[in-house]
Symmetry: C2
Subunit: 236 residues, 2 copies
């Protein structure tokens, strides 16, 4: 029997997004997908309903795959795929398998010779980088910074040093409620001529992308409390 396909399905990046931010190619896959591995079941249901595709949400199967996810569960979760049924992965925002356990499922799919299919959608990492004007040809994404202030400061200094010596842009994130605090730390720690770019609510109605030297950020009041942001540092 032919195996099903594992689709990596994008969702909204901004809370202000709607069906207009999702392609027909994605909607067409969603129309025929009834099994999902999801970071959050409530968000996933709400997303699929919002697309207004006439789906009967009650007949769709959702399996949680969040931070507490145990890889041992994969063989059981993959039973539909092995039986020829397609499955989708949905994260809480944007593309799956970046900052969620989705990559464990993708890895397992490759091991089982299950076809993995990705679909176009918004990635805050890439969108933050391209809207920064910084080097887009070489860059490193570091995920979330350490919470401990000492470790965080060390990480910021290391990233700046790499950016200045190699020209590779350095991209990172923070949980939204710590963004303001991070911006203050960045303006204190980074050198005045280093360029710091912030992309806030990317693709959303409140989208705000700004790149400035740290010396200019120091004199700028910029409220990014609780807004999802991508930070990039580099040189012009």
């Amino acid at each position: 029997m032919e195996k099903g396909k594992l689709y990596l399905i994008p969702t909204y990046l901004s809370s202000t997004n709607n069906g207009d931010n999702i392609t027909n190619a994605v909607k067409n896959v969603i129309r025929t997908t009834t099994y999902y591995l999801v970071e959050n079941i409530r968000t996933a249901r709400r997303y699929l309903s919002s697309l207004q595709l006439g789906l009967d949400i009650e007949t769709i199967h959702f399996e949680p795959m969040d931070k507490r996810f145990d890889e041992q569960a994969l063989p059981a979760l993959f039973k539909p795929l092995l039986a020829g049924v397609n499955m989708g992965i949905l994260s809480e925002a944007g593309l799956p398998a970046i900052a969620d356990p989705g990559n464990l499922a993708v890895r397992y799919a490759h091991e089982q010779d299950i076809e993995v299919v990705c679909l176009e959608g918004a990635s805050s990492i890439i969108l933050g980088l391209i809207s920064s004007g910084l080097n887009g040809q070489q860059f490193t994404f570091h995920g979330y910074l350490p919470i401990d202030p000492v470790l965080r400061e060390k990480k910021i200094r290391t990233m700046e040093q790499i950016a200045l010596s190699s020209g590779y842009s350095q991209v990172f994130m923070e949980t939204p409620y710590r963004n303001q605090q991070l911006l203050t730390a960045l303006t204190k720690i980074l050198k005045p001529d280093t360029v710091l770019a912030i992309g806030a609510d990317l693709t959303g109605q409140e989208q705000y992308s700004r790149s400035k030297k740290v010396s200019v950020w120091k004199k700028t009041f910029f409220k990014l409390d609780k807004i999802p942001c991508t930070f990039s540092i580099g040189i012009y």
Copy 2:
């Protein structure tokens, strides 16, 4: 007078894509944009026509911004923006400002306090990574590898060393007609247990994503001649 906005507009990633792979949000911006900075004028015209939005392509202004682009031209090119007219940037494939001079225009926009707005679309870098099952939380993108075989081998060894020691996935590209040659080199140079992922024709009808250990790739015949690919190396 209020300045125009600079839109970073995605285009098709695969030659088999069509309007179904572009969101309505993007199409709505294109409907009202008449000035473009483009990597290739012919590709840009063909793309806008293919969306079937009823645009009068003859009334749209295209300014080339390719490899030979001189930054000195920016002040003249930005005149419409300063006069309140929106402009778009279009690259040859996928998102602009990654592997084209688009980032110079974005940087100039920030210097001129012109609002930069990004839109959701396909990035082969991110899609290659998420469909690999490799670490998506920390990674480096290296752009195109050196052409010189000695420098290329050195770069491949350096990337593998970073992947194995730091866990950061290493993503890179090659011009399509050298892909097959690169795959042969990778299977010779990398260690047997290193995971090599290839994403070919991502989002396209011939999409093929596979992750395997190098020892397995060595025994696999895989034709990727002339197909746009993303390569990722890392550990499972």
